[in-house]
Every structure is written in C-alpha cells, then in structure tokens.
Symmetry: C2
Subunit: 157 residues, 2 copies
C-alpha cells in the first residue's frame, strides 16, 4: 500500500541524507519525494510517497524519523482527509495520430500546452491520486519523449 | 547564484541517500528537491535547486554526480533555455482584511481556491522562477498557516 508521509524538518545540510538513509537501510525505495522551504525559511517540508508492503516496518521507520533531532513533526496522511497534488512537465511527440488523444486529455483533465515546437509539445499537467494513472496511460498513447514529475505534495483539510 | 540541476538516476534504494550525501559532505544545502519516476519506471528524475556561492565546488559536485554508478545523466539548466514550474498548496487565513489581496493574487497569477473552510482557504498555486517571490510576498500579507511546496522542476526547450 502506498503511504504519503510528510515531515517538517530543520532546513540544514545533512538532514535529507539522514532521512533518505533511514528508508534505504530498511530496503525501502522512495517512490517520490518533494522537499521545499515552508513559510519559515529555517524549516523545510518533505513529502514522501513510499510503497509499504509491511506496515510494521513502516511504523518503525516513522518512529525513527520522529527520533531524529532535526525532525519536528511526522504525519502519515494515509487514513486522513487530505488534498494531494502533483505537477508534471511532459514533452510529447507532435504527430497527427496522437492529436485526438491529446485534445481529449486537455478537455478532461488540467492539461495545458505551454510550448509548441516543430516536433513536440511541452505540456503542463496537474494530477492527483485519483486521475494520475489515467493521465499517464493517455500520455503513453501520444508518445512521451521526456517526463519530469515533482512528486506528490499533500495538505490536511 | 541558484542552480537548477537535473539528474536521471536508476530507481533503486540508496541512490537518493548517496546523492544527498554528496551535497551535504561539501556543506551544500539543497534549497529544493523533487524526485519522481519517469516514463521508464526503472529510471527516476531528480531536480535539485542549490545555491552555489562557489561555482568551482559546484563543478566538483557535478563531476562526482556523473561518476556515481546509478547516475545516468546530469544537466545544469543555468545557462540554458528552459521552462520551470513549481506547485504550492497553501492554507491561508480567512479574514476580511486579506480578501482584497487574495482577489488581486487570483486575478494576476495562477492561484485557485480549492477548499474553503470556516477559518481558512486552501490555495493551489503554480509558480515559476519569475513570479515566485511576488506570490510569496502577497501570501505573507494574507497570512500563511501552512505552506507545502513541491520544489522546482524543469524541462529543456
């Protein structure tokens, strides 16, 4: 099961490396990670998405996160009421064949063409956990040349 | 000077920790980091924003990144023609006083109210390197309760 975990941490060098090591030492791969400053520049917010086949191990990781001196709070959004979002920049092939799929995608989802070149479009896409798989499937039909994702962020309601 | 660096890496556990250590070992703090899967699930894309007062040290870090076995490519966008974006989720105070500033912000920038509660709004904001400082200043006037950022991502034109 995928878990979305958020930690407020001191904005110091070394903190990211320590947290990343905590996960990798247990053989846990991080699906996505987004780290940025908060309104207080001395504090950063990390949003981590991790696939946890064994919930007990995840509980241990969360406990260890809590114990790190530079970690202020840890929240697991899994059973909460939250809003999540992710941003994509995607370069797709500009072909006659894919045009219909692209038009349909733009109509149905928050997808915008922000650059049109001779052989490609660059799209800006905003997805959440409910529509992301569908969007990725449609993009594949069009032909992805480059795909850059921010990773998920989340906020409590 | 702020640098936006992007690395394609093998999607394996331990890679993130190794890369984070590379920066922290040189005393470099990462301003923001966004990591997500690419169209190939075995490859992840990391976008790192770092403030580099000494460009020679940054050159060394980039060279060391290149040498890591799990790193496929490293690009420094600094002197390139690129598009960058960042996504914010922000909880702001719902007060009469801030309403005008909020309305102005929504009119001028890609800012959307996605949730309205009794005491707060949740906003979804898309910023780039050109408008981000202005948006943050206006948000502060309104009153930030919570601010979650994805960190910047970028794509070559």
């Amino acid at each position: 099961m995928k878990h979305t975990i958020q930690a407020l941490v001191e904005n110091k060098f070394g903190v990211l490396a320590r947290i990343a090591s905590l996960f990798s030492a247990r053989g846990y791969n991080i699906d996505s990670l987004a780290v940025g400053e908060t309104q207080d520049p001395t504090i950063s917010c990390m949003t981590i998405v991790v696939d946890a086949p064994d919930e007990r191990i995840l509980e241990q990781i969360k406990k260890q996160l809590h114990k790190l001196i530079d970690v202020i709070t840890v929240v697991d959004f899994t059973r909460r009421d939250y809003i999540d979002k992710e941003l994509f920049l995607v370069k797709v092939e500009k072909k006659k064949k894919g045009k219909k799929t692209l038009d349909k995608l733009i109509k149905k989802h928050p997808v915008k063409v922000i650059e049109e070149a001779k052989s490609y479009y660059i799209l800006e896409i905003y997805a959440d956990r409910h529509n992301i798989d569908e969007i990725l499937r449609e993009l594949e039909k069009i032909g992805i040349q480059e795909l850059v994702r921010t990773g998920r962020i989340a906020i409590n309601k």
